[in-house]
Structures are given as structure tokens and as C-alpha cells.
Subunit: 213 residues, 2 copies
């Protein structure tokens, strides 16, 4: 099987545990990773999350304290925080419809489609809606990880943090957002990372994949 | 900003609405997309989902019926179904630990880490655990979408289906799995897809991204 560059890069990447604090990810690479997040598909095109790109050392130090002291948060040069909508709302969905109409022109059935979506989402429990929004951020995380790997940038996807405290640090509650994922970007410190020399462990295809032909 | 090939491809991709039923995705490309799913990182490395790769026309026709009649399900050559664990269990987590120990040797703290994980997960409500497992599948969806795009393969990520019915068609319940995502693979039928000529709509960076420096 001939492997494309991307496949090699997806195998190269790993959840970096120790980053070199002296190395900074160049702005054009950060821009491309952010662009991958922006390009990620989401359910009904709502893009129900926002992205925070944090270089500020003080803020990152605060976040590290409520994230099990994971060092890449401050050793990397950039910290991405994915923050999903706390809930769907008529205003939020209407803004999506308005932008689509603005950029594509009037499309038959577009308003009907999003009216149906509102009828489905708005009566639902807030936790169900937030969860659905959060899942969309995970697709974008996949895009960010793939883009970073493609660019030779290391990254460390993290769920291990206190979301309420991160929300407080970033003032997310007033913006109707809840933090769901952290992603430090930087470069591996080869001699200090216990995970780097370890074999990448993944389930065998036979365990994970079922063919139905 | 110089764009890498991957960035161009992520912009090229779109949720294909009409696929050419005459075109088949070559096996080596399917293999690479499946490999991207297998390589996707997951929380604590549990890989809490399985992947079904379906070419069988009858099964795909059945699934299409419970998926809003979305035509790429049968027009594409392959249908991927992501099915997340219904719950975490001691057996499932122990299998992860066993494989890691098997492939990496005994690692200090490994058993302690996964004992802590069990203490956290096992008492939780099944829906919370399934939701957490499902989120991991969304990261892998991101990898699959990126890999497909890189290979010039079209795909259509779908949440719009009746999961209970798909579970029934594939016999997932007895395997402790629940379907969470569909992803037909194939090739766009350029003259029959209403979405293809439309401008890709994404929120502006200014709307979606906040810099904290």
C-alpha cells in the first residue's frame, strides 16, 4: 500500500507530553491550523463553537493550574481552546441562515430547513444541545490535529481540565460558551518526553473494523 | 500565506449530495481512510468505537431508508458507519491496558492510571459514557474526512439517520455498540449535485476566532 504524506504524518503525530519552550510555531502555520478548524464541517453548517488562540503566558499558566498541570499548555507557543455553544438559540440559527442567504442568495427550502431545525433543537434540554455542539468541535479538533501533523507541528489534545474553571478564566459563560477541548501547539522536546520513544498503540484492524460486503 | 496541499483539499471537500454510482473508490484509498480512523487519537487511548465498512448494496439500501433517503448512501461505493461503545466497562478498559502492556512492556503507573479511569467512568450514567465515547468517534470522523479529501475521494458526513434502526440493521446492540455517524465514500456527480456550485459558507475568522496575546 503506497502511503500518502498525510498518512505518514498521522502516524508521526502523537500526544506530545513535553514541548520545547524555546521553539515557537510560525504564524503562517498557526494560521493554517486555525483555517483547518474554520473549514471543518459541522451539523447543518452551524459551526456551533468558537476557537481561542492563546499566547499570553499568564493566562496559559492559569489554565495549566486547572488542567492537571499538563506542561505543554505553557511549554508550547500557542494554546487553542475549543469552546462550544452552551445551547442552540433562534438568534444563533438565524445568523447561520442569514449568512448563507447573504453569500449564496435565496435558496428554495433553506428557511424551511432551518425552521425545522429550530423546531427540533429549541425545545430540547440545554445539555443535549450543548453536547451536540461539542461533538462538532471534536470534528474540528480532528482537522486541527491533521493540519498540525501535516505541517510538522506537535500538538496535545486534552480533555483533562476543569471546564468551569477554564470558562471562568476566559469569561466564556457571558458569551454563552463552554470550553470542551484544549490543544497546545509547539514542538516536541525529544529528550524529555516519556511517551515519544514508546510504540504507538492502536487496536488491530481486525478488532476495530468490520467489513460487510 | 502559502497553502499546503492539505489546506487546499480541506477547502475542496464538501458534503457531497449526489455521487456517481458508476465510480468505485479503489481499495487502497479505502484502506488509507480506514487507517486514518484507526490512527485517530482518543481519550486515554481507549478507541471506544468500531468502524463498519459496508459495500453490500442491500444493507446500504436498508440504511438509506432510515436515513432520510440520502442518496450518497447507495450511490457511493462504500459506506462507513461509526459505532460507539454503549458504555465503558471494566473488561473494555482492561483490554486497553493489556494491549498497551503487551506492546510497550510494563510501564510504571499505567495500571494506576487506568484504575483511576475505571473509578471515574464505571459509576457514571451510561448515557454520559456513551456520549463521551461518541465524541471520540467524531475526532476519527475528522481524520477520515481529511484523509478522503487528501486522496481526492468525496464523502458525506451524516448525523441524519435513525440510530436505533441502523443498530438493528447491523446487529449492533448485542455487540454493545450504537451507531453515531455515517460516511458514504464515492465521487461527486458534478452535474447532479445542487450543493457543488454553491459557495462554501464558513464564519469569518473575526466571528469565530479570538486571539489572546
Amino acid at each position: 500500500m503506497s502511503q500518502s504524506t498525510l498518512m505518514e504524518k498521522l502516524s508521526w503525530r502523537y500526544a506530545t507530553k513535553k514541548m520545547d519552550p524555546e521553539q515557537v510555531v510560525p504564524q503562517d502555520k498557526v494560521d493554517q491550523i486555525v483555517e483547518a478548524v474554520r473549514m471543518a464541517p459541522t451539523s447543518s453548517g452551524t459551526q456551533p463553537f468558537e476557537l481561542f488562540v492563546i499566547t499570553n503566558p499568564g493566562i496559559r499558566a492559569e489554565i495549566r493550574k486547572v488542567a492537571w498541570d499538563q506542561s505543554p499548555i505553557t511549554e508550547g507557543s500557542h494554546l487553542l481552546v475549543f469552546a462550544a455553544w452552551d445551547n442552540y438559540s433562534a438568534d444563533r440559527i438565524d445568523a447561520v441562515t442569514a449568512q448563507m442567504t447573504d453569500e449564496r442568495g435565496e435558496i428554495p427550502m433553506l428557511n424551511q430547513y432551518y425552521d425545522n431545525l429550530k423546531a427540533k433543537y429549541l425545545p430540547r434540554d440545554e445539555t443535549v444541545n450543548h453536547d451536540h455542539a461539542a461533538r462538532q468541535a471534536y470534528i474540528a479538533l480532528g482537522f486541527a490535529l491533521a493540519a498540525a501533523a501535516e505541517l510538522g507541528v506537535d500538538s496535545t489534545p486534552m480533555e483533562g481540565f476543569d471546564p468551569a474553571k477554564v470558562d471562568e478564566i476566559l469569561g466564556l459563560k457571558d458569551r454563552g460558551l463552554r470550553s470542551v477541548l484544549l490543544l497546545p501547539l509547539g514542538y516536541r522536546q525529544a529528550d524529555g518526553d516519556w511517551l515519544l520513544p514508546m510504540k504507538k498503540v492502536r487496536k488491530a484492524s481486525e478488532t476495530m473494523v468490520t467489513l460487510i460486503d
